[in-house]
């Protein structure tokens, strides 16, 4: 297990190095002068020169990379070309909103997947199974930005129950925070819910065929207790890891949902950075997303290896 963990860690570090080369390259690959592109031709020469020096663009490229990665390792991603604020502080401001949205979305996904997947596994080839299969196919295919607009149309426009967009900090007003979170969380959670429904279905089906379930039934245990204590307990353990992977997708995949709901998270920060050609901010956001993604995958793989020793044996061969 330790050898596997170390190997997996080494792999992640190597990938992270490759990721940082690519993220660094964003600024180099922009045609022309990136600071000129961001500030426009009429920029104040002093601001221009200050930003150029701060970004180290006059140094040789390898030196720029070493400086950049050294700074990034201690959380210094430079300053925004637009506002002059540090990229780290801009990112830190946006983290709570993105965490709330991804967390809300995974709750929605599990609320859809566990009941629907279980019901569908308990009634194979019956109408509820067809319904689950159809709705998970639909959930995977529906464009989240369209679903968001439709939810706004119905729940904010026609019914007027919920706000159509915006964000309120949890510390400011918990009730309004929750009200603002509902529509974006549903929008972002549906596709993960669809994936998890399929997973729960196959996991419960597999669990139903196990010997200990048959034994429990043969002992005369009530059907409900068999389901709770023998089937779901075993079927839902692996769900933790799959839900973890989905959470990593959600943290980085809610970019467009944030755009639809004017949700001030990291995704929106990345968009604004693209629009205003604020490359240091874009680099910081992209690197952060990639690191989150790598970390969650690493943790999930290690957790899986711990739950299922066969994985370590297989990879050690």
């Amino acid at each position: 297990m330790t050898r596997y963990a170390l190997r997996r860690l080494a792999q992640s570090v190597a990938v992270l190095l490759g990721v940082s080369v690519l993220v660094f390259a964003i600024m180099q690959l922009v045609p022309g002068d990136p600071i000129r592109a961001a500030l426009g031709q009429q920029a104040d020469p002093d601001t221009y020169q200050a930003l150029r020096e701060r970004a180290g663009l006059d140094d040789p490229v390898p030196q720029q990379f070493v400086t950049w990665i050294g700074n990034a390792a201690i959380g210094d991603f430079g300053v925004s070309f637009r506002t002059g604020e540090t990229v780290l502080s801009l990112i830190a401001e946006r983290v709570p909103a993105t965490l709330a949205l991804a967390g809300g979305a995974i709750v929605v996904a599990l609320l859809i997947a566990i009941p629907l997947g279980t019901l569908s596994a308990l009634n194979p080839r019956k109408p509820v199974d067809w319904f689950a299969s159809l709705s998970s196919q639909a959930g995977l295919s529906v464009p989240d930005f369209w679903l968001g607009i439709m939810l706004i149309l119905v729940f904010a426009g026609t019914l007027g129950w919920l706000p159509s967009s915006g964000y309120v900090a949890l510390t400011e007003d918990p009730v309004e925070w929750a009200r603002h979170l509902i529509l974006p969380a549903i929008t972002a959670g549906v596709s993960s819910g669809a994936i998890l429904t399929r997973f729960v279905r196959s996991s419960v089906l597999e669990s139903l065929g196990q010997d200990h379930v048959r034994t429990a039934r043969a002992k005369g245990m009530r059907a409900r207790d068999v389901l709770t204590w023998h089937v779901l307990r075993n079927a839902l353990v692996p769900l933790v890891t799959v839900a973890g992977v989905q959470l990593a997708y959600l943290l980085s995949g809610v970019v467009v949902v944030e755009y639809v709901f004017a949700w001030p998270g990291l995704g929106q920060l990345a968009f604004q950075a693209v629009e205003s050609r604020d490359y240091p901010v874009l680099q910081g956001a992209v690197l952060l997303f990639a690191v989150i993604f790598l970390l969650v995958n690493l943790v999930v793989d290690l957790a899986y290896a711990r739950l299922d020793p066969r994985i370590t044996y297989r990879s050690a061969r």
């Binding site: 964003i26 690959l29 295919s141 426009g157 196959s202 799959v242 997708y249 990639a290």
Partner: protein, 287 residues
């Protein structure tokens, strides 16, 4: 498996038949768009703006008085073209990478697969946005961006299949008969790894169309005045309370198209690659 047998198995259920009919209709619409559209897609008529659906304008009109139905019809061509070219890019690049990595193994495999791991570490949408931040917005650049994003998945799937085919008797026989590597890869390996690639192509088309719509929705993909479904949705979003039809119909078009490709992809997987379906069910991976 013979082609006729595959097709027979593929269409034994009604869902795959419906999906195939929908897709055939879409392709036809894409080719005959100009002839099918009842009005011009770009001609504005301000006196007729924001008209609700009627006999003259089945899907209503937008904020500039343009016919929404005609724009949805002409948008089919844009969506399918961008999706097809993007998947074409990732198919060619990914399959080549996977073939060489799987066939040669050792350092070739290590280098190519670590590179694909690096690309894989970026969330798809963000990667596409970063590429477009460098290349600039537009449908041609969106194709390249989406193509890059989906390359690693094709590389991985191809490599995994090549690894199992590489040691087959017929490959060893060809090698001992003196066939060169390129000949073995082209004549013996590639034809035996196509099943999972075909399945992935159908599923990737669904996601590529979805990505193009998302990029156009945020203003980085297809640019006005070209009618793109994502772009139309973005325009409709601002008028959703006065003119629901502006957002509902383009969104439905994306939904139906993506659903059809996904359903067909699932049916193909059942027929061509049942093992992959089991593996996918275990990981929750969909794309």
């Amino acid at each position: 498996m013979r082609a006729a047998e595959t097709i027979k198995l593929l269409f034994r259920g009604p869902t795959a038949i419906v999906a195939a009919i929908v897709l055939a209709g879409l392709v036809l619409t894409a080719f005959l768009g100009e002839q099918l559209a009842p009005h011009s897609a770009t001609e504005t008529d301000v006196s007729n703006r924001l008209q609700s659906p009627s006999a003259d304008h089945w899907f209503g009109t937008d904020e500039l008085g343009r016919d929404v139905l005609s724009r949805v019809i002409l948008g089919a061509e844009v969506s399918l073209r961008v999706g097809a070219v993007a998947v074409g890019i990732s198919l060619v690049a990914g399959v080549l990478i996977g073939l060489f990595a799987g066939y040669y193994g050792r350092w070739v495999d290590d280098v190519l697969m670590r590179l694909s791991d690096v690309l894989f570490a970026f969330p798809a949408m963000l990667m596409a946005i970063a590429v477009l931040a460098i290349l600039g917005p537009g449908s041609a650049n969106a194709m390249i961006a989406i193509g890059i994003v989906y390359t690693p998945i094709f590389a991985r799937i191809t490599r995994a299949s090549v690894l199992s085919v590489r040691e087959e008797v017929y490959v060893r026989a060809a090698r001992s008969a003196g066939a060169g590597d390129l000949r073995i890869i082209g004549r013996h390996v590639l034809p035996n790894v196509t099943a999972p690639i075909i399945v992935q192509t159908s599923i990737s088309l669904a996601f590529a169309i979805l990505s193009e719509a998302a990029l156009s929705f945020v203003g980085l993909g297809t640019q006005p005045p070209d009618p793109s479904w994502g772009r139309m949705l973005a325009e409709g979003r601002g008028f959703v309370e006065q003119a629901w039809w502006m957002a509902v119909f383009p969104g439905l078009a994306i939904f139906v198209t993506v659903l059809a490709f996904n359903v067909l992809g699932d049916a193909l997987r059942d027929v061509l690659d049942p093992r992959q379906r089991q593996a996918m069910a275990g990981t929750g991976v969909s794309a």
